[in-house]
């Protein structure tokens, strides 16, 4: 049996390796390109996977000193933090209400909220563009702060609902017998127990904010106010020449660190997702 076992292992490892390479190659490529000299990059015969003409930090310097990249990161962080706060304030209580609201009404409401996730920004961005203009929020980061919770709240409500459902009702009932009102039982007993779920919501919301593109491109016009996701594609192109080195550096910096952070929370997120999807 050992030969067969060994063969199976090889197949198994190769399959996984292939997928891992397929998934991560663009990022590895981003990393390599970041340190390439421009004349190296623009020479189609130069060996791509190392630095035959030497490596350089010039691309990164340009990125940080001569573009608005740092400002875009700051913008994104700002929007991210505010949207996370808004989402927590609205989605966590809503998730709790849905988890404890008994009966079909609660269940249907839950599904209804989740289904709004299926009304995409690509339908909504047009009327929202007009609304934003009317509110004079055009080109302001506040327009994003206003609109982004529309896709973070539905999903986070559903996520939190799953988390809260997993906490037995007994605990609140014990708290109420001990003298707390239902609301106090929620804030003083249940919430502290749900830190894991809340952290997941925070990370997930932040990632969604970082990824958003359509609204960012629609509502923001001037370079100073872009988020990273929009700024990098639109701005690092001067005419027809793409500053690939800096571009790749920007992409790498804005993608990989948060992915590493996100990795720690994926299990929780998936648990919430599948529980909801299967049990309804």
């Amino acid at each position: 049996m050992n030969a067969r076992e060994g063969g199976r292992k090889v197949v198994h490892r190769s399959v996984i390796a292939l997928f891992a390479i397929f998934a991560s190659f663009p990022f590895a490529w981003m990393l390599i390109t970041t340190f390439k000299k421009t004349n190296d990059l623009l020479d189609p015969n130069s060996f791509p996977f190392w630095y035959p003409k030497g490596a350089t930090l010039e691309n990164l310097r340009v990125l940080f000193e001569e573009t608005l990249f740092v400002r875009w990161v700051g913008n994104t962080l700002f929007v991210g933090v505010v949207v996370v706060i808004i989402t927590l304030l609205l989605a966590v209580p809503a998730g709790y209400a849905l988890a404890r609201l008994s009966g079909r009404f609660g269940e249907q409401l839950g599904i209804g909220i989740f289904l709004t996730y299926l009304v995409p920004p690509t339908i909504l961005f047009i009327p929202l563009a007009k609304v934003v203009a009317m509110l004079h929020l055009q080109d302001s980061l506040w327009s994003l702060v206003l609109v982004y919770p529309s896709f973070t709240i539905p999903f986070c409500t559903w996520l939190m609902m799953g988390f809260f459902k997993a906490i037995p009702k007994d605990i609140e009932e014990a708290a109420m017998v001990d003298g707390l009102s239902r609301l106090a039982a929620f804030t003083k007993v249940i919430l502290p127990m749900s830190v894991a779920g809340i952290l997941t919501v925070i990370i997930f919301t932040f990632t969604l904010v970082m990824q958003e593109f359509v609204y960012g491109l629609t509502f923001i016009n001037s370079g100073r106010n872009f988020t990273v996701s929009v700024g990098v594609p639109s701005f690092l192109v001067r005419g027809d020449v793409y500053f690939w080195g800096s571009l790749m550096g920007a992409c790498f910096i804005a993608s990989v660190p948060i992915a590493i952070l996100y990795n720690f929370f994926v299990d929780r997120f998936i648990a919430g997702f599948t529980v909801g999807a299967v049990k309804g």
């Binding site: 599904i111 929202l128 529309s150 239902r182 996701s229 571009l247």
Partner: protein
């Protein structure tokens, strides 16, 4: 009983802010988009006039619209078909524990966690017409093509319509595969170990167990994952915008990107709304399907 004590009153109080927000930021604009589609609103106009269904008629007569419609379905269906197969294979492979699994998982998740636009730019560089690293490999290692005169020219990945469409589909697969895989993996691990043991004892080998026991049991979750992926692909504009801007010559436009160009670049909000609203029937159908699946999947 005070609100803080009554179960129902408290629940309504807690859920109200979220409901109000969603109503305001999703519900109202949605209704607005319906109004836009039957009016002649533009970016600069302050009020619109009712024009009936002429926007829809104009859209249907526009050849780039029908091409975009076709592309959108092609894009969504093709990418999700590939994803469903690949995600299943990868999820089965990831079930077993092995050394370095967390590194692999991190790598596999990267395409999905990274901002779409940035990942797409990475691909833009990989697929560049002159400097593509793929072309480098084909030239210098496989000797299949090259830029020098006398050699077959290497593919212009984003320049030829069929190639461009394929490239876009591949990037979409690349981007949605992680989510589908992880969802599948969740489904696979929710099958009790007992069932696999019983199948082993009953004499089923690897493939019989996979196709007759495991896959039928994960199917509901798999379908949910694919349905979501389909909806994301169907309504996506980012990959197209970054890779080709809809080119060459509008050949790779999808409904969402067409609506964007028309409305934001062109200022014709009414026409853009009409185009975008064609997305809605498919979305509604997908929503109904999802609900049906969620109801039916209490298998275990």
């Amino acid at each position: 009983m005070r609100v803080a004590d009554s179960e129902n009153a408290l629940a309504r109080f807690l859920i109200a802010p979220a409901l109000i927000y969603i109503g305001a930021v999703i519900g109202v604009p949605f209704v607005l988009s319906l109004w836009f589609a039957v009016s002649d609103v533009t970016v600069s106009s302050t009020a619109g006039h009712f024009v009936g269904l002429s926007n829809f008629r104009l859209a249907l007569e526009d050849p780039s619209f029908s091409r975009a419609l076709r592309n959108t379905f092609l894009f969504a269906i093709a990418s999700q078909l590939v994803v469903i197969v690949l995600a299943t294979v990868l999820a089965v492979a990831l079930q077993k524990d092995f050394r370095g699994k967390w590194v692999v998982r991190l790598l596999i998740l990267l395409p999905w966690v990274a901002p779409v636009s940035l990942g797409s730019i990475g691909w833009l560089w990989i697929l560049d017409s002159i400097y593509s690293v793929i072309n480098y490999g084909m030239d210098h290692w496989l000797h299949m093509c090259g830029p020098e005169p006398g050699k077959t020219p290497c593919p212009v990945w984003l320049g030829q319509p069929a190639l461009a469409m394929s490239s876009i589909i591949i990037v979409q697969v690349w981007r949605t595969l992680p989510l589908a895989t992880v969802i599948n993996l969740g489904g696979l691990t929710s099958i009790p170990q007992d069932i696999h043991d019983a199948a082993q004892i009953d004499g089923a080998g690897f493939f019989r167990t996979l196709f007759q026991i495991t896959l039928p049991l994960v199917l509901p979750i798999l379908l949910v994952a694919v349905l979501f992926g389909f909806v994301f692909a169907f309504t996506d504009m980012i990959v197209v915008w970054v890779l080709t801007r809809g080119g060459p010559y509008d050949m790779t436009q999808v409904l969402a990107s067409l609506a964007f160009f028309k409305g934001i670049d062109g200022g014709d909000l009414a026409g853009a709304s009409a185009i975008a609203l064609f997305l809605f029937p498919v979305l509604a159908a997908a929503a109904i399907l999802l609900l049906r699946l969620a109801r039916r999947s209490e298998v275990v």
